[in-house]
Amino acid sequence: MNAHPMLSMFRWIVTRDLTLAWRRRADVLSTLFFFVIVVSLFPLGIGPEMRLLQSIAPGVVWVAALLASMLSLNRLFANDYQDGTLEQMLLTPQPLYLVVMGKVLAQWLVSELPLVLIAPLVGVQFGLASNTLVVLFFSLLIGTPILSFIGSIGAALTLGLRGGGVLVALLVLPLYIPVLIFGAGAVDSSIVGIDPMANLYLLSALLVLSVVFAPWAASAALRISLE
């Protein structure tokens, strides 16, 4: 395999993280179940009235996705930090940017993609129409990578700190707000019969921004944390 060293580094990171995740399947599934349980709690707390459930569905599903994505952030760098692998990755001649990109991609595939796939099923619980389910699926498909990218900054900043889990929430949740607004907004507008594309375009713009800037900020944060 004579690929460019940067490309092979990226591929190595992704396959390694995927392999590690596969060996610990329970971790992955717990994020997914967390999402499903949180979403299912809302009808129990609010009551079974379908019209009300329909109108809160976009917000509920999206907030649950936010929380689930935040829970899986702790695993992004922590294990590699503890056994010293992360330090070795910092020493490689390849840019740290790629390491972060690879890890974020693997994390998204492992913890967020299953959630995106199951979301339409969860939406059925809330009586969403089929075209709305499609919008829900795509809004999560575009939106959850942004969450992983922004979250990687928070995970890198809080590496090795006491109370890291709660702290990550404080740092990252306010930054998630635009994603929540546009993501839930797309589903919302599809429910009331407005074209959801405007929100999806804005979400895509945020995705592009976060792909470009977040790994850079996260690698700066990693260098600070590992100094």
Partner: protein
């Protein structure tokens, strides 16, 4: 005179001590003047009655909250980029004042909202984005508080502040669009096309007072931070901190 000399905490510490009264005393005088104009000279608003007078602290507090966040990020970025310790200390010092002003603007806003709008809180775009600004301050302060090593705390705070500053306009516009998309706002912050000159004078006096107060308090707080971090340095134990 070489101004860069004052980038050193040891040189800045006594300078800050000398500067504080120059900002604190005018701040106090302007507060008194502003409150006097606001309470006794400015006319009663024909729509809102006397309740509008809380604006004289609310508006400057809201401005300061936003402005200090940017200022904090600038200081933090300079401290990170040029490895200037004092600049990072200023950022940590400003963060607290900024958070307090943001809180003050939320608190006075809801006190004003109750008699005027009939409710303590509305999900108005401006209120919501101020609330989020408050969250960003809390994130910055608690991140720095969680890190024991001061230089790591400075740099980590700088990354977060810069990311926050890039996000502030995105958050602001997303909240504004969200607000207009959701429903036509039933209640709006009153667009005041014209404002009586005395009201404006009171507002500007209070704004100047808030500015001077922020400077004085940040300098006082940065002196505490310097004392804490440099406690093992010789100069501080020799009683140089006049």
């Amino acid at each position: 005179m070489n101004l860069y000399k004052y980038a050193s905490p040891a040189a800045f510490y006594p300078l800050a001590g000398r500067l504080i009264p120059w900002f604190a005393i005018p701040a106090a005088l302007l507060f008194i003047a502003g409150l006097y104009i606001g309470f006794f000279i400015a006319p009663t608003d024909f729509q809102q009655g006397e309740a509008y007078r809380i604006m004289f602290i609310h508006v400057p507090a809201a401005w300061m909250g936003m402005f200090l966040y940017v200022l904090m990020a600038v200081y933090a970025a300079i401290g990170w980029a040029f490895n200037a310790r004092l600049s990072s200390m200023m950022a940590s010092s400003i963060a607290i004042t900024g958070a307090l002003f943001t809180f003050l603007s939320l608190a006075t806003g809801s006190l004003w909202g109750k008699p005027t709008w009939g409710t303590w809180w509305v999900w108005d775009a401006r209120l919501t984005s101020t609330l989020i600004l408050m969250f960003l301050y809390i994130g910055f302060i608690s991140l720095q508080a969680a890190i024991d090593e001061p230089r790591r705390a400075d740099r980590a705070g700088a990354v977060l502040a810069i990311v926050g500053v890039i996000n502030v306009p995105i958050i602001y516009y997303s909240v504004q669009w969200w607000n207009t998309l959701h429903q036509g706002a039933t209640i709006r912050i009153l667009g005041k096309p014209t404002i009586a000159p005395t009201m404006l004078a009171a507002m500007l006096t209070m704004l100047a007072a808030c500015w001077l107060y922020s400077i004085a308090v940040s300098l006082a707080r940065v002196r505490c931070i310097i004392r804490e971090r440099e406690q093992r340095a010789d100069w501080i134990n020799e009683g140089a901190g006049a």
